[in-house]
Amino acid sequence: MTATTDSPVVTPDASRRGARRRRWWLEVGWKYPLAAVVVFYAAFPLAYVLSASLSPSGTLTGSTQLFREISAQNFSALGDTRFWQWAGNSLVIALSVVVGAVLMGAAAAYAFSRFRFTGRRVSLTSLLVVQMFPQMLAFIAIFLLLLTLGEVVPALGLNSKLALICVYLGGALGSNTFLMYGFFNTVPRELDEAAKIDGATHAQTYWTIILRLVTPILATVALLTFVATFGDFILARVVLTSEQNWTLAVGMYGWVSDQLNANWGLFAAGAVIAALPILALFLFLQKYIVGGLTSGSVKG
């Protein structure tokens, strides 16, 4: 970092250069050390878990020196556990929910944004109300509902991944429609009208024009849905009863809560593997997230 400011005038005058430097420190420079502090605060726990995952001693409690020893022992030990099975379950469930939620949410948002039908305002308001009742609060009713459904169709009963996916999709409309609705409204209606004049059907307009223009909000919703589903504990815990059906959140909670110190090395390795893809996605898509969150949120 050199101490040049925006005006690149070269003046040999040392006192003026010193004053400029002082001003730079006062207005800009001090923010670099501060940034270092914030970065340390934000990143230390993550560096720590990475270090613990590489440490062969396998405890998160003993060593205070990061990255003193490095081995892949913990990572290979994951193969002896059900970790990969849980990771597979989490992925299958989260990806199915993402696809379903984005398709259903976008379709509903399109309908609310483009069609004027009776009951539109009422439906929008009821969605807003329903959305305030998180599914998590109804976990008992969901548990009892799946008990009953399981008697009729075993594939939709307790301990079924399909049932859990359906439960998550139940929340898809409430939480996403508004985010998308706001964004759909920003796409000019003239485009639809032009397409209609050119002879496109409503389905063609939707699939080939609108969906391409709202890709940023689709990406935002997909990512947020993925993260929310991937990280859900309470519904997954209530619905999935047998160990081979668990998701990562349920399974890894078990590692930590059962034997406090025994499985920290494994936990750390698992945490690194589970978090890296999401971390990468987030960092890659962050500008869409900012745009999506602020432009899509319904104001008032």
Binding site: T61, A107, H202, L283, I289
Partner: protein, 534 residues
């Protein structure tokens, strides 16, 4: 549900008729056929197991789907329907069902109807009939059904299953004292039985009625080679609605108010049935000494937790966003990426990670040993420190979100405002206070409200960091100082085993919903006013 005012499309949709390469029509037909088949399959299986609610529900959904998708109008319906089905079944229905359960005593000991409770009681209280002979037993199968075959005192072979009482079997063969073959059944030999744990369980649970009359008792076995006649020590009198214990003579009469069999001395039988209890569950939370004290403390802490989390992380996020939204700074993109790391790390992993870093045993824990010079700070076991820990960890988790949001919102503010303020001679602080903050608040308030509602029910952070602990010492309920309402509901619901009280837990769910709804509605109203003022 829709009458569109939009003019009809200029051309027919591809999904309506087969024209040219119109695969849309074929795809639609295939999809609708699948939907109909699925709906009818569900309805049919519901019929076979007497689940009328599911039957009606699935038929209604299929009919509406056909109407919506084969009608020329109802365009909006075509787009909304799929999501609406899931919403109706898994959110709206469960909300309504939560309300229903909240007015019943549904839970451990009150799981089903009175009829089923009677059956369960009769079975549970079965004892071997005194001096009853034991019979050599052979396990037989007929398709999926497992049955018993015995040779009685007179040398006659009796066969029966759970559904069919014992009957003399014609044409059965024996090797003297044990059955070796029964027409219509396959004999399961002992080796097969011992090798199959699932079958063993089934056999041990099997009761074959001795005759059509329930008072004759039933055949049961303890080890799979001998059967004895068991009979219930309780007698059910459906007319008087009483249960009589034949060993002690105590008479228990059905109490429709509490859904239990109660004796004159006040003792009750273990299995009851589900009855409506009105609003009792709603008052239990306030009046039952086990719940009342913790309930108020937990409610206060839930509000404090949600409010402080939102306030602290918004302020920190805003401050960082303000400080680093400076065009003269280099590497802003890199900084931003590093700042949002905690937000991108899955929350459940963060909570578990911090649980290890703070550690329930204060002798360990990296936070103590690295930042507090090895001091023994009981982050997770002291009531106040545990609360502080939860707030601290949640601040770490949430500030990047508000940093992102505030950065985004600030970048969308017009630059001219700042120039105008500067020309008018406003100080930086004045500019921030009077212009930037009010404008920022308009776009961020909905997110602040959403964040409050989310944190009000932030199950993961509490459950995974402290598990609600440290436990309250003045109650027997499994609740603790850092429990928030949603974890309290989870603990007393008993869905994870232990004693369950679905009724009380559902009532609490509704209270939480009302609170969150009221706070959100109030806050949204205020925002709208704010917007009008500006």
């Amino acid at each position: 549900m829709s009458t569109d005012t939009t003019p009809p499309p200029v051309r027919e949709s591809h999904a309506r008729t087969w024209e040219g390469t119109g695969w849309g029509f074929a795809a639609k037909l295939v999809l609708m056929a699948a939907v109909n088949a699925l709906g009818i399959y569900v309805a049919w299986s519901a019929w076979t197991v007497d689940q009328w609610g599911v039957l009606v529900g699935s038929l209604a959904l299929v009919v509406v789907a056909d109407v919506v998708y084969f009608s020329r109008r109802r365009l909006a319906g075509k787009y909304i329907y799929p999501g609406l089905v899931f919403l109706l079944v898994f959110q709206v229905f469960t909300m309504a069902y939560t309300v229903y359960v909240a007015t019943t005593n549904y839970g451990t000991g009150h799981n089903s109807t009175q009829e089923q409770a009677v059956d369960a009681l009769l079975i549970q209280n079965e004892r071997p009939v005194e001096d009853a002979p034991t019979y050599p037993l052979t396990i037989v199968r007929s398709g999926e059904d497992v049955g018993f075959a015995v040779v009685d005192e007179s040398g006659q072979v009796l066969v029966g299953t759970a559904a069919e009482p014992m009957e003399a079997a014609a044409g059965a063969t024996t090797d003297g004292d044990r059955v070796t073959g029964v027409p219509g059944y396959d004999v399961v030999d002992l080796g097969t039985l011992l090798a199959d744990p699932a079958l063993q369980e089934e056999v041990l649970a099997l009761r074959v009625p001795a005759s059509q009359d329930a008072d004759d008792g039933s055949y049961r076995t303890r080890e799979g080679t001998r059967a004895t006649v068991y009979s219930s020590s309780l007698d059910w009198d459906p007319d008087a609605q009483t249960m009589t214990d034949s060993t002690t003579g105590t008479v228990y009469s059905a109490d429709g108010e509490t859904g239990q069999f109660v004796a004159a001395d006040g003792s009750t039988l273990t299995v009851g049935w589900r009855v409506g209890v009105g609003l009792e569950n709603f008052t239990t939370a306030f009046t039952n000494p086990n719940y009342a004290g913790p309930f108020w403390k937990i409610t206060a802490w839930t509000f404090a937790f949600a409010f402080l989390t939102v306030a602290s992380s918004f302020l920190l996020g805003l401050a960082i966003a303000l400080l680093f939204d400076d065009k003269r700074l280099r590497g802003r993109r890199v900084m931003r990426t590093l700042f949002i790391l905690p937000y991108a790390f899955p929350a459940f992993l963060s909570a578990l990670l911090w649980q290890g870093m703070l550690n329930a045993n204060p002798d360990y824990g990296i936070v103590n040993s690295l930042f507090f010079f090895g001091a023994r700070i009981e982050w997770l076991t002291d009531p106040w420190l545990a609360k502080l820990a939860i707030l601290g960890v949640n601040l770490w988790l949430t500030f990047p979100y508000f940093f992102l949001v505030c950065t985004g919102a600030m970048q969308s503010l017009p630059n001219e405002l700042e120039e105008a303020a500067r020309i008018d001679g406003a100080s930086r602080w004045r500019h921030f206070r009077a212009i930037q903050l009010p404008l920022l608040l308009i776009s961020t308030t909905p997110l602040l409200i959403a964040s409050f509602a989310f944190n009000f029910n932030n199950f993961v952070i509490v459950y995974m960091l402290t598990g609600g602990g440290p436990r309250f010492t003045d109650t027997s309920a499994p609740l603790g100082h850092t429990d928030i309402l949603i974890t309290m509901i989870y603990q007393i619901s008993g869905v994870q085993g232990g004693s369950a009280d679905y009724g009380l837990a559902s009532a609490l769910s509704i209270i939480v919903f009302l609170v969150v709804g009221a706070v959100s509605a109030f806050a949204f109203r205020r925002t709208r006013k704010l917007e009008e003022v500006l």
